[in-house]
C-alpha cells in the first residue's frame, strides 16, 4: 500500500547497503471526536493524500458515491467497511487503517464517536502513541469532545493533536481558530494534557493535511502529516526499568529441532519495558528468586541485549522455578507483587459491576481470580470529578478496589502503561468486561496512591 516509499528509500534500506539505512518506524494513532466532526473524512483524506488508496478502491468509492447521488467521492466510504455502517451512514466499530510516508508507517485506529464511544475510544487509545482529536471549527468543544479527551488523558496517550476541522466553513478565520484552540487547550490543561497541538484543517478539501495550505497564511505550523511524521514513536526504553512477563517456558527436550538443544531452557516473552543485557541480574516474580541472564535469543539469532517491545527468549544461569505468568524484572528495581489493587476501570460489560463480584484479572501473561471489594466512585466526565456509586454500568469509568487470589507484580499505570494495565474477564463466558489501570486517575483528580503496593503475604 505504501506507494510513497520511493525506490531510493528502499534501496537505502536494503541489507548490505553501505550508507546508514533509513528504517521506517511505526507510529500508532487513534482518532477521536464528536459525531459529524468529520473523522471518517479525515481518515479518508490521510489515506488518499499519502497515496495509500489504490485506484480500484477509489473507483469503488466513486461508483457508490454516484449511486447515492453525491457529486464528489465520499472519502468516508473508504473506511466504513461494514454493510450496516454503509446502510446507516455511521461508523460502528473501530477500523484499522494503514498508510505510510518515506520515513514512517502508520497504524490508525479509526474510533467511532457515538455508538459505544467509551469502549471504542478506550480500545483505540490503549495502543496509541498519538490521538488525533477532531473539533468542528463552527461548534468548538462539545460534550463528546470533552469526554473523548478525558478518556485519552486517562489512558495516558503520550501525544494529542487537535485537528480544528471544517476551517473552510468559517472562511479560514484565524480568529475562530484561535478561539477554538484556546477553548480546547483550557480543557486539555484541566485534564493534565500539556502538550496538545492544534492545527486548522479542512479534511474535505485537504487543507493542512498533507501539505500546508495557502488558504491559512496566518498559520505557521506544520501540516498534520508533517507533525505525525515528527512525533517520537516511543520513549527511549533505557529510561525504564526492565520487565518481561513470561508467556512460555521453552524446553524442547527430545523434540528439539537440533540435538544440541535437548537441554535448552528459555523463558519466552515480550519485553514490556526497559532494556535487558546478557550478564544482568534479574529477579523472578512473585517468587523473588534472583539469577543472571546468560543468553538472549530471537529465533536462531543470539542478541547481546533486548529492549521493549521486542519478543525474545531469555536463558538464565540457574534453573529456578519460573512458569507462565511470572515476571522477570531488573533485580535492582523490581515491583512488589500485591493482592490488593486500587484502580480505575472502564466498565464494558452489559451487566453492571457490583461489589463482591468475582472476575478474572489478566495482567501481562498472568490470569488470576479477583473480586471487587468496593466501588469507590464513578467519574463524571463533564466536571471531571468522582461521585459515589454502588455499581458501574456499561461505559462507566470508575474507581474500584480489587482483591486478587494470588500476588501479581502490578505497577502504577502512571509509571508504566504496560505494567499498570489489566483486563477484567467474565469467567463464565470469557468476555472482556473491563479495561483497568492500576492506581490511575485523571491527572487533576486525587493523585494515585503513592505508597508502595507491598503486601504482608509477600515474602522474599
Amino acid at each position: 500500500m505504501a506507494t510513497t516509499i520511493t525506490a531510493t528509500t528502499l534501496t537505502a534500506a536494503a541489507p548490505g547497503a553501505t550508507t546508514a539505512p533509513v528504517q521506517p518506524t511505526l507510529l500508532r494513532l487513534a482518532t477521536a471526536g464528536s459525531v459529524d466532526d468529520g473523522k471518517s473524512t479525515l481518515v479518508g483524506r490521510l489515506l488518499h493524500d499519502t497515496k495509500s488508496v489504490m485506484s480500484d478502491q477509489i473507483a469503488a468509492v466513486e461508483r457508490v458515491s454516484r449511486d447515492r447521488g453525491l457529486t464528489g467521492a465520499d472519502l468516508a466510504l473508504l473506511t466504513d467497511g461494514l454493510r450496516a455502517e454503509r446502510e446507516q451512514g455511521i461508523t460502528i466499530d473501530v477500523a484499522y487503517r494503514y498508510f505510510a510516508t518515506a520515513t514512517r508507517s502508520f497504524v490508525l485506529a479509526d474510533c467511532p464517536g457515538h455508538v459505544q464511544y467509551t469502549r471504542n475510544t478506550v480500545t483505540g487509545s490503549s495502543t496509541a502513541d498519538v490521538v488525533v482529536l477532531l473539533v468542528d471549527a463552527r461548534k468548538g468543544v462539545l460534550e463528546q469532545t470533552r469526554r473523548h479527551l478525558a478518556v485519552t488523558a486517562l489512558l495516558r496517550v503520550p501525544h494529542v493533536v487537535v485537528a480544528v476541522n471544517k476551517i473552510d466553513l468559517v472562511d479560514f478565520s484565524q480568529e475562530v481558530f484561535d478561539r477554538v484552540e484556546a477553548e480546547v487547550q483550557a480543557v486539555a490543561r484541566d485534564l493534565g494534557v500539556e502538550d496538545a497541538i492544534a492545527i486548522p484543517v479542512s479534511a474535505l478539501d485537504g487543507d493542512n493535511i498533507a501539505e500546508r495550505s495557502d488558504r491559512t497564511p496566518w498559520y505557521a505550523g506544520p501540516s498534520l502529516l508533517e507533525l505525525l511524521e515528527s512525533i517520537p514513536s516511543s520513549e527511549d526504553p533505557a529510561h525504564e526499568a526492565f520487565r518481561m512477563p513470561v508467556q512460555l517456558v521453552i524446553r524442547p527436550q527430545g523434540a528439539a529441532l537440533d540435538p544440541s538443544h535437548v537441554d535448552y531452557r528459555g523463558y519466552a516473552g515480550q519485553v514490556a519495558s526497559g532494556v535487558v543485557r546478557v550478564g544482568d541480574e534479574v529477579v523472578a516474580l512473585p517468587s523473588g528468586r534472583r539469577t543472571t541472564v546468560v543468553g538472549i535469543d530471537l529465533g536462531e539469532r543470539t542478541l547481546e541485549e533486548a529492549f521493549a517491545p521486542q519478543s525474545v527468549t531469555l536463558r538464565l544461569a540457574d534453573e529456578i522455578d519460573i512458569s507462565r505468568g511470572d515476571v522477570i524484572a531488573a533485580a535492582a528495581d523490581a515491583p512488589a507483587p500485591t493482592q490488593d489493587i486500587e484502580a480505575v476501570v472502564c466498565w464494558l460489560g452489559d451487566a453492571p459491576l457490583r461489589p463482591g463480584q468475582r472476575l478474572l484479572l489478566k495482567h501481562g501473561a498472568k490470569t488470576v481470580q479477583a473480586f471487587a471489594r468496593t466501588i469507590d466512585g464513578v467519574l463524571d466526565l463533564d466536571d471531571l470529578g468522582a461521585v459515589p456509586a454502588d455499581s458501574l454500568s456499561l461505559n462507566d469509568i470508575g474507581r474500584v478496589t480489587l482483591r486478587l487470589a494470588a500476588p501479581v507484580p502490578v505497577e502504577d499505570y502512571a509509571v508504566s502503561r504496560r505494567g499498570g494495565a489489566f483486563l477484567l474477564i467474565d469467567g463464565h463466558d470469557g468476555r472482556t468486561v473491563a479495561a483497568g489501570m492500576v492506581g490511575a486517575s485523571l491527572r487533576t483528580l486525587d493523585p494515585a496512591p503513592t505508597r508502595p503496593e507491598g503486601d504482608e503475604e509477600w515474602d522474599i
Binding site: 528502499l10 466499530d93 492545527i199
Partner: protein, 314 residues
C-alpha cells in the same frame, strides 16, 4: 499560539538508539500473539495454504518457539482447484519444518454431495463448511489465519483475536474490545477464536519481510512465462480448472501471482519481477490492491468478504 513547537527529536532512530524498525515492531507483535494463543488454548491450529501470508505466519511461529518445534498442526482447506506447484510447495514446507498437516478437501464434499459446485465455478465460498467441520472434528479452539486488515474493508474491522460462535459465525457488531497488548482468547465450549497475528502488516511489509528473512516461496510468485487468457480484466492461467471460452484467446505472457488462490479465479499480473527485491519495488509502486488486481470472487459485491466472514470463512 498559531505556531506549534516542532518536536525536537527526529522520528527516525539515530544510530545506536534503541527504537525498533517498523518490520521489527510488527514481528515482535506477531510473535507475542502466537505465543499467547499457544499458551492459553488447548488445541490451536494454523491455516496453511502455501500462500505468502501463511508462510510468513509459519516463519514467525517457528521463531516464536525456537529451538522447540511449532507446537501445533497446520490445516489446509484444499479447494481441489489449487495450483499444483503450490501444493508441492505446501508439502515441502511441512516436511522442512517437521509439521503435521491436516487437509480438509472441498472435492470430497462435492463428490459425496454435501456441497454443490457453484454456477460461476469458484470454490472459494465453498471452503467454509469443510473448514468448520475440521475445526469441530479436531476440536480446534484457536485457528491462526494469515488475514491482514489492509486487504479488505471488512477485514479492517476484524480483531487480532476474534470470537466465533458455535456456528462459526463472526458478529462484527458485537466484537470484544482489544486493549493494550492483552489478548483474551477465552470462550465457551463449542465456540472458538480466529487469530490473525499479521493483522497489522501490509502487503508491502510482507514482501519486505520475505526479502529480509529470505523466506522460500512457491515459484509462481516470481515472474515466469505462462499460457494465459484475459477475463474480467485479469490474466487467468490455462489449466484443468480454467479454460478459455471461444472468444478468449490464449497468449504466452511473462506473469507472476500477487495472491495465490484457486486457479479458476486468481489472476496473474504481468511482471518481470523475479527476485524479492524486484517484487518489493513493484508492490511499492502498484496502484491496485492485490485483491482488486487478482481476485474475481471479491468483485461480486461490496460486502462479499463480510458475508463470507460472517458465515465462518477465514
Amino acid at each position: 499560539m498559531t505556531s506549534p513547537a516542532a518536536y525536537p527529536q527526529s522520528a527516525t532512530p539515530a544510530m545506536g538508539e534503541r527504537r525498533l524498525s517498523q518490520l521489527d515492531a510488527l514481528e515482535a507483535e506477531s510473535i507475542l500473539v502466537i505465543r499467547e494463543i499457544a499458551a492459553e488454548l488447548e488445541r490451536p491450529v494454523l491455516l496453511f495454504s502455501g500462500g505468502k501470508d501463511s508462510v510468513v505466519m509459519l516463519h514467525l511461529a517457528a521463531k516464536a518457539f525456537w529451538p522447540a518445534p511449532i507446537p501445533f498442526p497446520v490445516l489446509h482447506v484444499d479447494t481441489g482447484h489449487n495450483f499444483p506447484e503450490v501444493l508441492a510447495y505446501r508439502d515441502e514446507t511441512v516436511e522442512r519444518l517437521g509439521l503435521r498437516l491436516e487437509v480438509a478437501s472441498v472435492q470430497d464434499y462435492i463428490d459425496d454431495g454435501r456441497l454443490r459446485e457453484r454456477a460461476d465455478g469458484t470454490r472459494n465460498p465453498l471452503q467454509t463448511q469443510p473448514l468448520l467441520d475440521a475445526i469441530a472434528e479436531h476440536r480446534f479452539d484457536g485457528v491462526f489465519g494469515g488475514g491482514r486488515r489492509d486487504e479488505e474493508k471488512a477485514r479492517a474491522k476484524e480483531r487480532i483475536v476474534s470470537l466465533r460462535d458455535e456456528f462459526g459465525q463472526w458478529d462484527p457488531k458485537n466484537q470484544r474490545p482489544e486493549l493494550w497488548n492483552l489478548f483474551n482468547p477465552r470462550h465457551r465450549p463449542g465456540e472458538h477464536v480466529r487469530v490473525f497475528p499479521i493483522s497489522n502488516w501490509t502487503e508491502l511489509d510482507v514482501w519486505r519481510y520475505i526479502e529480509r528473512e529470505d523466506i522460500p516461496l512457491a515459484p509462481l510468485y516470481y515472474a515466469h512465462e505462462r499460457e494465459v487468457f484475459r477475463r474480467d480484466g485479469m490474466w487467468l492461467a490455462v489449466g484443468p480448472y480454467s479454460q478459455p471460452r471461444d472468444d478468449e484467446t490464449v497468449e504466452t505472457r511473462l506473469v507472476r501471482y500477487r495472491t495465490v488462490g484457486d486457479m479458476s479465479c486468481t489472476g496473474a499480473v504481468e511482471s518481470s519481477a523475479s527476485t524479492n527485491a524486484e517484487i518489493v519495488l513493484e508492490v511499492a509502486a502498484s496502484t491496485l490492491t492485490e485483491r482488486g488486481a487478482t481476485r474475481a470472487d471479491d468483485r461480486i459485491s461490496e460486502a462479499a468478504m463480510e458475508d463470507r466472514k460472517k458465515e465462518g470463512y477465514f
